[in-house]
Amino acid sequence: MGTDFWKRFTKNKIALAGSCVVILLFVVSIFAPMIASYDPHEINLKLVLSPPSGSHLCGTDQLGRDVFSRMVWGSRISLKVGFVATGIAILLGAVLGAVAGYYGRWTDAVIMRFVDIMLCFPTFFLILAVIALLEPSIWNIMIIIGLTGWMGITRLVRADFTSLKERDFVLAARAIGASDLRIIFIHILPNAMASVLVAATLGVAGAILTESALSFLGIGVQPPTPSWGNILTAGKDNIDIAWWLSLYPGLAILITVLGYNLLGEGIRDSLDPRLK
């Protein structure tokens, strides 16, 4: 990664479109209190389920709360879940993949068989089964999404390590007596970060989708904390009278996930134009 990368990245329309969306999301979550025109928890029983209007851009929900303000605050949840869950997945995936790829032999065999086993479980089933045991809270959701999403990254990092460990710079590092840990984390891992970065960007998108689905099913972020998924639950409950409760939060999820996916795709193209 270097000046070439930035040159290609800034010329790549897909990457720029993705970056714009992601930056916009950060701005919205950071300045949520200023952007939201109402208190997201303020109940107004005179305005229950009123359609979008000048004062309530996206209408109100079954308790008369302003949907737009709830969505603005909900963006903080999806940002948090996306990054923390992906962070956990990356940490686990990178360490396990690095160890498997670097040491090879039985270490590799054991770790990769474990990956195969974990991949047999429909991820959504595994997440639900664990949630059945724990309290559904935003922290538990982040941890569980992270703990069930590291397998792909392990495979990526391992593949990079098996080829990188034979290269001259690694042999040189070993020749001057660098420890295994040093070689793995200081010398090889930075070279394997490119593919991890792409996987991470796409992973954030996936984590946001999973969180919204869990919250929609009522086992994710719990009301009254606003999340895009749990506003949609209200949309489902009032499906025949309040279309705005269903339309807008879903649109927010769609645009967010699309933004991260485009950014990931753009980074991949800029890293290695041959892959296109």
Binding site: P122, L126, L128, L133, I239, G250, L254, L262
Partner: protein, 313 residues
């Protein structure tokens, strides 16, 4: 295959036992009449009073004869029977949506590769990006509003109408079809984007190969080159996708079956999670993983049957 199966049972077992609390907590804490004696009997029933390795072995022994224990719900029926009666509808929906995915995604992928950078290719690329990003449960809500409520064309819940028992035979079939249209379309939607993208890149890869140039050089029509020589080779790797898409489809069934109130395995799983009916949760987790393993096995075998190069190596 066998080591994987053993691994799957170990993970299931670990999830049940390493998590905080005991699987029987819910049962005993929710039930004010649960005496110490009852608690002990429950623990004995799940062998929770024995050392871990013995618990695992006896659990495995029971699974080998398809005994998944008894449900914690008031009906106390065997888990295996509860799951088996709900499997057919889930499998039907998944098989139908897989057929739909293949029928739609393969032509899209092939055509956008053959006419690369054409308007069609660009439009489908946008469709693919949106398809990857769209939360399918949201799409389900929108389609329910459109077709179920505003237009009133399709039913939005269950698998049969209230007057099902009084319908003439022909109408019975039509009734089920009407109920299945939305769930099948939506569960297929998630896979469409992925497969058409995959098919496109396969096709682009194959078109570059030497044997395609040979086919063109010996004067075959472009039609024959594309649809006979290239397509067959590009289709081969799609077989593995068949296996890989099983966990996604099964996982998705939780969402669709609870949205559309379809009495399948996914809905049973969701209800069991909400009720913390642990034996059922573990049973479905195990069966979901085994179905995935079977999907992969079938994909591997059919790949070997379809591609002689695999058999040799």
């Amino acid at each position: 295959m066998v080591p994987l199966l053993i691994g799957i049972t170990i993970v299931c077992f670990a999830v049940m036992h390493l998590a905080p609390g005991s699987p029987t907590d819910m049962e005993t804490q929710m039930n004010p009449r649960a005496s110490a004696d009852y608690r002990e009997r429950l623990n004995a029933m799940y062998d929770l009073d024995k050392p871990l390795y013995q618990q695992y072995l006896s659990w495995i022994g029971k699974i080998a004869v398809l005994d998944l224990g008894k449900s914690f719900s008031p009906d106390r029926r065997p888990v295996a029977r509860k799951i088996i009666e709900r499997l057919p509808i889930t499998i039907l929906i998944n098989v139908l949506s897989m057929v739909l995915i293949f029928v739609i995604a393969i032509p899209i992928g092939v055509l956008s590769a053959v006419y690369r950078d054409s308007l069609f290719d660009k439009v489908t690329s946008v469709f693919v990006f949106v398809g990857f990003a769209i939360p399918t449960f949201w799409l389900a809500l929108l389609l329910m509003i459109l077709f179920g409520i505003d237009l009133g064309w399709l039913p939005i819940s269950g698998i049969r109408s209230l007057n099902y028992d009084y319908l003439p035979p022909g109408m019975v079939f039509l009734d089920v079809v009407k109920h299945l249209i939305l769930p099948v379309t939506l569960s297929a939607f998630g896979g469409l984007a992925g497969l058409s993208r995959y098919m496109r890149s396969n096709m682009l890869e194959v078109i570059r190969q030497d044997y395609i140039m040979t086919a063109r050089a010996k004067g075959l029509s472009e039609r024959k080159v594309i649809y006979k020589h290239a397509l067959r080779n590009a289709l081969l790797p799609v077989i593995t996708i068949l296996g890989l898409s099983v966990p996604g489809l099964i996982g998705g069934s939780v969402i669709f079956e609870s949205i559309f109130a379809i009495p399948g395995m996914g809905q049973l799983f969701y209800m069991s999670v909400m009720a913390r009916d642990y034996p059922v949760v573990m049973g479905i987790l195990l069966i979901g993983a085994v179905l995935t393993l079977l999907g992969n096995l079938i994909a591997d075998v059919s790949y070997a049957l379809a591609d002689p190069r695999i058999r040799v190596s």
